[in-house]
């Protein structure tokens, strides 16, 4: 008994609390939903769900999703990792610009990102096609194509990779790269054989993160894939839920389970990788702080990454900006006709100001903090313990991303709207849903960095008599702060741009920005949507800048 009490140290209690919270927030609603599908109402939920497996469209949908998510993940990993390395570990760094620019696509709401690329790359009418038409080659981009779709998925994913990988590289002992240089390895070989493999767990985490976000993205395929006649899982799930009444929840869930399997597989790889001790950690023997001299490659590398960044952040934002100033989207830009009408519309007609902005900032801010606290606690708990409990909690908070948000929102409604909670339409239910829905990216980012902290640094703290709580506060958190902040940024941005939870859960008095986006997308104009996105993007940049600014204060090494 005393042994048990002794083991229940404060931090363990905190973790149990988080686990309980997750159980209430995730398992309870899902369990209720599954239960009522199977036994309640119409019944036969399981046979409906099984029915999905025999549908003729299933195989092509799975194939399409696999190709798009798979190839964009690979591309994003390559691009994000190389850029992060160049910016963090070499003298080709472009400084602050290199820290902020790569994550711009993350700050634009997904709908707007997709539409921005439609503005640019739609056949005949895209701005870029207008420019290409001036050239003699007769080139034409078509965003409504496999290539276009994968391209947009990729640039949407690069920021995640960039954030996680650059946090990991910042912690990489430069001596490892120096040893490779001494042994005659040129910079690119160092990148390939040392820098990236040494942070393999972070790469896997990034892959996991990208996969689950890409799997769950709905706006991009709904804007681009429909016209390209490429069905993916999310569009399919929305058809199932929205076309007919009653919504085909069981079938949609069956698709969710397929996604879940994919995510679990990746998660399992992540867990195995991070526990093997075969990756670089922040060690207890400090070495230099040098960066790699790229020599002649410096400028080509810089220009390349600047070009990519311009292409993926400045160009689409430019397109959004132009459209937001046009009365309506047209490829023939009439500079004299540009005006701020759409901004006026966005701000005052579409309820962006009437509280929703404040609400969203509050919800996303609070939600991001809560989610990150849970994520961090669980991540820290599971580096020390390989028990069933920690695996269960860790797996649960990461794989919940595989459950489509619409389904989660429905589950939340049935679980918490009525007795005994009566949370329907309250800010609380929205906050709870936000936390559960957007916890996974935070959790992945958190464990990616926590796993990087050398074991001896934690051990030295215990030896010094520090309890778990102190070790966490004084050693783990300060060392992992860059990764935590990245996670927080990702979670925050996700919450700001949320469309699905808000639609089902928010009440008439607590509108969020997602509402505005949704209604403009449904019935408004691209101009207003662009204006809204530009403003959101600016707000996001402000908040993210603030987060990283605060981080810089702590991040001293």
């Amino acid at each position: 008994m005393t042994a048990l009490v002794a083991r229940l140290r404060p931090f363990t209690l905190l973790t149990l609390l988080c686990a309980a919270l997750i159980a209430v927030l995730l398992f309870y609603p899902l369990g209720r939903m599954v239960h009522s599908l199977a036994f309640g109402g119409t019944g036969g939920g399981f046979s409906d769900a099984l029915g999905v497996l025999t549908q003729p469209w299933l195989a092509p949908v799975l194939f399409n999703t696999f190709v798009i998510v798979g190839s964009s993940t690979v591309l994003a990993l390559a691009i994000g990792a190389v850029m992060a390395w160049g910016n963090v570990r070499t003298n080709a760094s472009i400084g602050m610009l290199g820290t902020l620019l790569p994550i711009i696509p993350l700050l634009i709401p997904n709908v707007a990102l997709a539409i921005g690329w439609v503005f640019l790359g739609a056949p005949r009418v895209g701005f870029l096609n207008g420019l290409l038409a001036l050239l003699p080659f007769g080139l034409e981009l078509n965003i409504y194509s496999w290539g276009g779709l994968i391209f947009v998925y990729t640039i949407n994913a690069v920021p995640y990779v960039y954030l996680i990988v650059s946090a990991a590289l910042r912690n990489l002992d430069p001596a490892l790269e120096e040893a490779a240089r001494i042994n005659g390895a040129a910079p690119l070989r160092i990148l390939r054989t040392v820098s990236l493999p040494a942070i393999r767990p972070a790469l896997i985490s990034a892959a996991l993160l990208v996969t689950i976000t890409s799997l769950g993205v709905y706006s991009i395929p709904s804007v681009i894939a429909t016209t390209a006649k490429i069905d993916v899982l999310t569009t399919r799930i929305v058809f199932l839920l929205n076309r007919d009444f009653p919504p085909k929840l069981a079938e949609a869930q069956a698709l969710g389970i397929i996604m879940l399997l994919a995510v679990l597989a990746l998660w399992w790889i992540e867990v195995r990788m991070t526990r093997s001790g075969k990756a670089a950690t922040v060690g207890g023997r400090a070495t230099s702080t040098g960066v790699i001299d790229l020599g002649g490659w410096k400028w080509p590398f810089r220009l390349g990454s600047l070009a990519y960044l311009a292409m993926t952040s400045i160009v689409p934002i430019g397109a959004l900006l132009i459209v937001s100033l046009q009365p309506f989207w047209t490829p023939k830009i009439n500079w004299l006709a540009l005006n701020f009408g759409n901004y006026h519309q966005a701000l005052f007609v579409n309820r962006l100001v009437s509280g929703s902005l404040g609400n969203s900032l509050f919800l996303s801010g609070t939600g991001a903090v809560i989610a990150m606290v849970i994520a961090i606690v669980v991540a820290i708990f599971s580096i020390n313990r390989f028990g069933l409990l920690s695996s269960l909690v860790d797996g649960a908070i990461k794989s919940s991303a595989a459950i489509p948000n619409m389904i989660l929102a429905v589950a939340f409604l049935s679980a918490f709207a009525g007795a005994p909670f009566f949370l329907s339409g309250t800010t609380t239910i929205l906050l709870m849903a936000f936390v559960v829905m957007y916890l996974p990216p935070g959790a992945i980012a958190a464990s990616a960095t926590v796993n990087q902290i050398g074991r001896d640094l934690r051990e030295a703290s215990s030896i010094a008599g520090a309890g778990e709580g102190r070790t966490v506060r004084k050693v783990i958190v300060p060392l992992a702060i860059p990764g935590f902040l990245s996670g927080m940024a990702i979670v925050f941005v996700h919450m700001m741009g949320d469309l699905s939870a808000a639609a089902l859960l928010s009440g008439p008095n607590n509108p969020v920005v997602g509402f505005a986006i949704l209604s403009v997308w449904e019935a408004g104009t691209f101009g207003v949507l662009a204006a809204l996105s530009v403003m959101l993007c600016i707000i996001n940049i402000g908040v993210i800048g603030l987060i990283f600014g605060v981080g810089r204060l702590f991040g001293r090494r």
Binding site: R124, T227, V410, A417, G507
Partner: protein
Amino acid sequence: QSPEDILAAAKAEGEVLVYTSSPDAEMEAKIAAFEASFPEIRVTHIRLPSGQLFTRFISEHDAGVTQADLLAAHSSALFQERPELFVPLTPENLPVLGEQQIIVTPENASYQIFSNDIQLVTYNTDTVSQDDLDAHLASWEDLADPRWKNKVALVDPRNSANQVSFLLNMERLYGDEWFTGFMANEPEIVGTASSASQQVAAGAFDILVPTIPSQSAAVREQGAPIGMYSPEGLSHVTSAGFAVPEGAAHKNAALVFANWLLSPEAQVIQCEFSGVPNIGIEDAACAKLLPEEFTPARDVIPAEDAERVFGLVGLQP
């Protein structure tokens, strides 16, 4: 319960929460007018696409709460499938039913239709002339005219029953062969009508079907080169209906607001925001009325029928 009792109770309740799929602007205009007439009753609303609106309502219902006092959606699927959840609407609790001539009647008494739309062709006025329309789009059948090859966009029917209903009617009128000709024009499939109308304005395609005016109202107001056109042969009418849930907390207020929605005052506002009134009315604002003959859209469609037409337009079901 007399109408007076209901009104008195409504004033006591003092508020109504409406789940609606109507655009915000339209809803706000109506609310403003209503509150001017009934200052004791405050109306709030949540706007959602019909599908999500039903999902939300039914999930809340299953959880044992009824938040919405009134549902006003561009589909009647829920009302048709689960009439028992709603207060039967009669001239007793909805006096307007006795006072006005209701044009499109509901499938059952659990709801009433308050607004209609005729599905039209949206076209780019810069690239499509009146002559083009006369020569190549006199009837809906002309969508198969080679004039529109690579110039026509079709709203993805998988998103809504209204679109499926449209295609089913095309099949009924013109048969499978028509689809062969239509598909030869290689129609683009677009996600939503409102975004596609803007692509029409930008010049991505010449015509877009099937659409209703509200989907492009905003861009047209901005002066985009967009016109609406009604070919011969099919007047496919989609409808929006309302219903009062049984468990509603402000049932009386909801009934009062519903009743008002079918009043000439409300219907005129409705017309200003596009939409065809569902009561006989003569007003300059409501120039467009339903034709003599029209085909109401079906909101509940058997899966086999839907899958068949998806196949006809080359989509996975």
